[in-house]
Symmetry: C2
Subunit: 296 residues, 2 copies
């Protein structure tokens, strides 16, 4: 895998446009802009084709799911080829009747599908009813080889699990990438909102440090109303690009669409892991209980 020294990456932080056609059309504009500015890797937000529909449980939402490959992967593949960029997308996958996944798809610069990752950790909280829609992934934690490096693609709720990040690092990932959809409950007070947004960024920064890897996280923004009369969600944006010591290379705001771009030094991990060689000293002889639910 040839990994260039400096990789210009772009994250498309966007507001829901109301329908798949409008969202994909906007994504096409943003990817074109990113490519024109020199980006070679574009990360999209989680479930970018639609509103975050998991605010309620409604069987009609399954109608927007698609096979992979399918219409959206064909369109995103054409987009990747047209601009010669690697794209990481996030789709509602219909695998079979009554079997759906939250799936990230990586497109190579020739338009082909380089690989896919099915979200392994599935949340279920008020406003985030994902266990109703998504079967937990069964592809495991495997990075995807591309022309810009070996990509450790994970999805949103996975971001809270050091285990997923570590497994990607152990499989030789060159960076970690998280399409996400996370926001505030408008009823929470400002202090709690700040703690939550900060915790989310801290979790990514922690993965960067623990694994000596760059981390990219792309989140949506804007208020999306609740279909069932709850308070809705204020997606907090804050998409970011981190270096392998957890340092912030670029960070988007909390209230507006943004094409966030940053240059990632792909040789920096090699240096950082030489001065802090954490992988050398893991106590694999004493980690067995990580495979337990709880040590009680």
């Amino acid at each position: 895998m040839a990994v260039s020294d400096n990789l210009l990456v772009a994250l498309v932080q966007e507001r829901n446009q109301g329908a798949a056609e409008a969202n994909l059309s906007l994504i096409e504009q943003r990817v074109a802009e990113a490519a024109a500015r020199g980006a070679r890797l574009v990360l999209l937000q989680e479930l970018h084709n639609a509103a975050y529909f998991c605010q309620h449980q409604n069987v009609r939402e399954f109608e927007q799911a698609e096979a992979i490959p399918g219409p959206s992967t064909e369109r995103l593949g054409r987009l990747a080829k047209a601009h010669g960029v690697v794209i990481v997308g996030s789709l509602f996958e219909r695998r079979g009747a009554g079997l759906y996944h939250n799936t990230a798809v990586v497109f190579e610069t020739d338009g082909s599908i380089a690989g896919k990752y099915r979200k392994m950790h599935i949340p279920d909280d008020p406003g985030f009813n994902e266990k109703f829609y998504f079967t937990p992934g069964d592809l495991g934690f495997h990075p995807i080889d591309t022309s810009v490096g070996r990509l450790g693609v994970l999805v949103c709720w996975d971001q809270w699990y050091p285990e997923g990040a570590r497994l990607m690092a152990l499989a030789g990932a060159d960076m970690l990438l998280y399409p996400t959809a996370i926001g505030w409950d408008p009823d929470d007070d400002q202090a709690e909102k700040d703690r939550q947004r900060n915790a989310w960024i801290l979790s990514h920064r922690g993965h960067a440090v623990a694994n000596g890897l760059p981390v990219l996280s792309c989140n949506r923004i804007g208020h999306e109303p609740s279909p069932i009369g709850a308070s809705g969600i204020d997606f907090w944006g804050s998409s970011h690009v981190l270096g392998p010591q957890g340092e912030i290379l670029a960070e988007a705001g909390t209230s507006a669409p943004e094409l966030l771009m940053a240059e990632v030094d792909m040789q920096r991990s090699e240096h950082v892991r030489r001065i802090w060689p954490f992988l050398r000293d893991r106590r694999i002889d004493a980690y067995g209980d990580l495979l337990k639910r709880y040590r009680d």
Copy 2:
């Protein structure tokens, strides 16, 4: 285990005083002061009896190691009893001829030893020759029950490993505690120094978030010269107390001794883990490769 709602904790960030007697004498003053101000738990820095002797490899340094129990544990036990506080100390343990450990010892308010933890991950870098002195711990990752809660005690280099923090959390730890000795190479430039100190704090904050636990980390400060003519180490202090969303409750400076005190809400983890129940969704069926050195 009775866990009080609010626990006042104290961290003794100190400069090396040159000899065990002087260091322990200073610790006695600081613990008395902490107890007088209401602290019920006191965390000391790593290897607090001496200079950080691992800057060189010299067999004479083994002479300062002690059995556990031994003179230092007796003295610290008396101190805990005198003030009715739980103390977490850090000693150079002589277990047998040619067999030494870097061991944290927890003292109960009655002066007894509540338990000990032998540092599991051992670093070895220029200026930090710990593999010469310390056999990696063989007690595993087990929290220690005390009257102020179940303490997940880890030591310094362990701080870079999400695995250790997670194993403590899975065993029901109420908080994580890290005695540490980490500092700058004076020859590094300011940007690298900033990245390193920030990465160290980020790693602790990441553990707090991932596990929904408070984290206490106590570091030494001051320049300690190299016994072999290298540049020495500028220990960066920055001892800190974190809440279970990674929020900073208290943080010491980088250049002076400090008795850092903070009140920790011991019921907060219960709340945080209800809104973000990460332990619920761990994919223990897919974590097997965490027990591998590398997935190649």
